[in-house]
Amino acid sequence: MAYEPVLTRFFGGFEAQDLDHALAHGVYEGARKALAMDPAQVIETVKASGLRGRGGAGFPCGAKWGFIPKTDRPRYLLVNADESEPGTFKDRALIERDPHTLLEGTIVAAHAIGCETAYIYIRGEFAYGARVLERAIQQARARGLLGEGIFGQRGRRLEVHVHRGAGAYICGEETGLISSLEGDRGYPKLKPPFPAVEGAWRCPTIVNNVETLCNVPWVFTRGVAWYRSMGTEKSPGPKVYGLSGHVNRPGLYEGPLGLPLKELIYSDEFGGGVPGGRALKAAIPGGVSMPVLTPAEVERCRMDFESPREFDSLLGTAGVICMDETVCMVDALWNILRFFHHESCGQCTPCREGTGWIEKLVSRIEGGEGAEGDLDTLLAVAEGMCGRTICVLADAAAWPVYKGFVKKYRPEFEDHVRERRCTVRGRGA
């Protein structure tokens, strides 16, 4: 398969941090083309490309930009670089190895929505990435690509600021991000109003994921037809896949959307299979909030925004986590729930109280102190959290329970309760 990597083309090193290197390889050409177009035309082009947001929800990018109302108020573009979903590490690499393409996509998006100030909200732990971006912004400003009169066009300006987060997963949720950027607690906000209408500082705001914006320039340099030649009808374009856990070659891989998950895990081009010849027991398709897939489901699942739904799961960030036969499903779920318990912002009752409750319950079952009825309680408490909160963190914590692990590996949970011990750990390797 002659797939030509575009998003990850600089992943071999760090040369593209340098503006000259980036320019020599055509970075900013897409922005030059887009800036010659009318904003409405830019939005139409992105709509035509079918580009869907890469932050996890897969919302059509052009449509989102189109929600910006016509207004004299300032408009803001927020680049969501708060990548913190366990199993996901694509944006970090894009920032560190290809910062200028991110800035290029930012320039195009800002042009489309008529914004003169953009913020890159970067996860606090990405200190290096923040430095890389600061330097890239300085270089771009010095060359007239950012700041006043960008691309030689008088009166057109764009300032890009890097804002470092302070270590909360919830600030990657777009309205939590806005609250945090505004200087408040990173509490997600009530919707409506949606950010496009009333976001940062109550002005129209678009929040785009790093990888989404890194896709944007390609729509303009290579065109809509080229873009749509990859992936599926509903999920077109290239994708950076993360692969971690029990695979021979964990890392980031690029391919078209719609890649068979089996190929991603087993092909020598990608993951190269499970180490030690052990059997795959479970795989999470895209960040730990996405319900886990069984080996049989892995066989059939394709990595686009539609296919995982067939298995009651979602693509999410396409950060795949593989677990081999030595992994205890109760333990794995406990690990995931510890994360959500720790990261719930605490604003809404069901999430604040529910994430801790289900974590403690699963911890108890894993610790051999499960009791009859615990699994039913676990499922009821998890389901009770869903669809009843301001943001979807509660759902993200509950799905792995009632759509994933307990639903698909229930006998293993029952064994734990019945035998009052972990029935997997220590077995095998």
Partner: protein, 524 residues
């Protein structure tokens, strides 16, 4: 965003206002929808997730009423199986880490967590894990906090941000460790802080003053009006065993919204003070009220034409009008005496008035221009000996009579004082009648905006003490100027309203719970 919006709630037609949210519309229509974080006086937080309703034809199964705007033709259901399941679930989460210490919690009996659990919750909890224990501490000198009982609805936080604008409170930590706290070195010590206790729907924020003093179901609540400043906040005075236990605001959109200040809340110590007058005094010795009334009437008659009647701005409209009648009967002159201003304060959404008198506007309207705001001329005449006797209707706590007043009265040949507390005036008086504090009487006060509001008697005056309007009726009767027999404050008010143009059209019953604006502007 205004105009009427027609919708139905549980099939019943309800008219809401445009821009209103579904929960507000339901509550105003008298439909009970359980809720914690929503408070009509605060911004919408939407965090408790309790006020779930179902909107017919909407895709989402249930929505929070507080975050859903009303719409024409909307059909709201407040008690479907889905709604009940959501309420049950939220309550179970709320109780998961709650200590269930109702037997030792001050809020028991008026706790929304108790009440809604009873009405909407599961019979049995399923939480068998270790509970999260949060801090229990003083947030400020008068507010105690039980983090264990807190449901993090953030009403208190929003109050301090939006109403007092002082911002002392915040949520710290996150997830199930979220807890209310102050910032280091900045306690919750603003003059509106007591309201955070009132609006806390559970037993998390409690008043240090009321703590463990009484079980709330034993309290007797009387709706009345605060006397601490001229704002006239509507309040509820709660009493037990003859003592005021607690004072809380009553919502009145035209006066105090949902709030009151801590000055008013904590200003009632004097009511039970050992300095209270519990009987009439004659030349310093306790005496029967009837004897003193007779003696005062006799002495004042002897000075007819040279009598000063001083009426404090704490007296009711009724007492002021009777005092005016008395002055007329004796050919005397009236004057208003008042406590000096205490600097008030303007908060973003609450104002404490400078005028530390509850009924200056009412007394002024009754006494008219001659009664004047200044007692200067009357005092000068007393000092100069042109007026030779005085009747002072005091009743002002924490008041130091100005030296000029004391000096003028010292020159008078006969001084009678009606008051509630011992003090310089009582000491110099020839005859003293024991009156009633504002929580001990019925009557009407006019606030600084000219709103007439009813005082209601929450306690009996101590010992032999009597309400001023009764004492004045007896004095008038002794002078042969009162044929009505002893009548109630309401009847006196009726006579006053018929006689004083500024009070025309008002009567006790018509003032209702929230009072009415007196129609005519005060004469200058």
């Amino acid at each position: 965003m205004s105009g009427a919006v027609n919708m139905t709630v549980d099939g019943r037609p309800v008219q809401a206002r445009g821009g209103q949210n579904v929960l507000g519309a339901c509550l105003e229509a008298g439909v009970h929808v359980p809720h914690y974080c929503y408070h009509p006086g605060l911004s919408v937080a939407g965090n408790c997730r309790m006020c779930m309703v179902e909107i017919e034809g909407q895709r989402t199964p249930t929505v929070t009423g507080c975050t859903t705007p009303v719409a024409e033709g909307m059909a709201v259901r407040t008690s479907t199986p889905k709604v009940r399941a959501a309420q049950e679930a939220v309550l179970e989460y709320l109780l998961a880490n709650h200590p269930l210490d109702c037997p030792v919690c001050d809020q028991a009996g008026e706790c929304d967590l108790q009440d809604f659990s009873f009405r909407h919750g599961r019979g049995q909890g399923r939480f068998h894990e270790e509970k999260v224990v949060k801090h229990i501490k003083d947030l400020g000198p008068r507010v105690k906090f039980w983090g264990t009982r807190c449901i993090v609805c953030t009403r208190c936080v929003r109050f301090c941000q939006e109403v007092s604008g002082t911002g002392e409170l915040s949520v710290i930590e996150r997830g199930d460790h979220s807890v209310i706290d102050t910032f280091p070195g900045i306690p919750l010590d603003n003059e509106l802080a007591g309201n955070t206790v009132d609006i806390c729907p559970v037993g998390a924020l409690l008043s240090s003053d009321f703590l463990y003093r009484a079980r709330v179901w034993f309290l007797r609540a009387t709706p009345t009006v605060c006397a601490t400043c001229s704002k006239g906040c509507d309040i509820t005075v709660e009493t037990l065993e003859g003592e005021v236990q607690r004072v809380r605001p009553r919502p009145n959109p035209d006066v105090n919204e949902w709030w009151m200040c801590d000055r008013g809340r904590h200003d009632l110590d004097y009511v039970a003070s050992p300095d209270r007058l519990a009987s009439a005094l004659l030349e310093g010795g306790a005496s029967a009220t009837s004897d003193v009334v007779a003696r005062v009437a006799e002495s004042l008659r002897a000075h007819a034409g040279r009598v000063a009647v001083l009426v404090s701005a704490w007296q009711t409209v009724e007492a002021a009008w009777l005092a005016q009648r008395l002055a007329q009967a004796l050919g005397g002159r009236t004057a208003l005496v008042a406590r000096p201003d205490v600097p008030g304060r303007v908060y973003p959404r609450f104002r404490i008035e400078d005028d530390a008198n509850p009924n200056r506007a009412g007394v002024e309207r009754v006494l008219g221009p001659a009664g004047g705001p200044g007692a200067g001329a009357v005092l000068a005449d007393l000092t100069a000996g042109r007026l030779t006797a005085a009747l002072v209707l005091g009743g002002m706590p924490r008041w130091e009579p100005p030296p000029a007043l004391v000096a003028a009265l010292e020159r008078a040949r006969f001084v009678a004082v009606v008051d509630i507390l011992r003090g310089p005036l009582v000491d110099l008086a020839d005859a003293v009648l024991a009156g009633a504090a504002f929580v001990e009487k019925d009557g009407v006060y006019l606030n600084s905006a000219g709103r007439a509001q009813r005082l209601r008697r929450a306690l009996d005056p101590p010992g032999e003490a009597l309400c001023e309007e009764l004492l004045l009726q007896r004095l008038l009767a002794a002078l042969g100027h009162w044929e009505a027999g002893e009548v109630s404050a309401g009847a006196v008010f009726g006579m006053a309203a018929a006689a004083v143009p500024a009070l025309a059209g008002l009567d006790h019953q018509g003032l209702g719970e929230l009072g009415r604006l007196a129609g005519v502007a005060p004469s200058q």
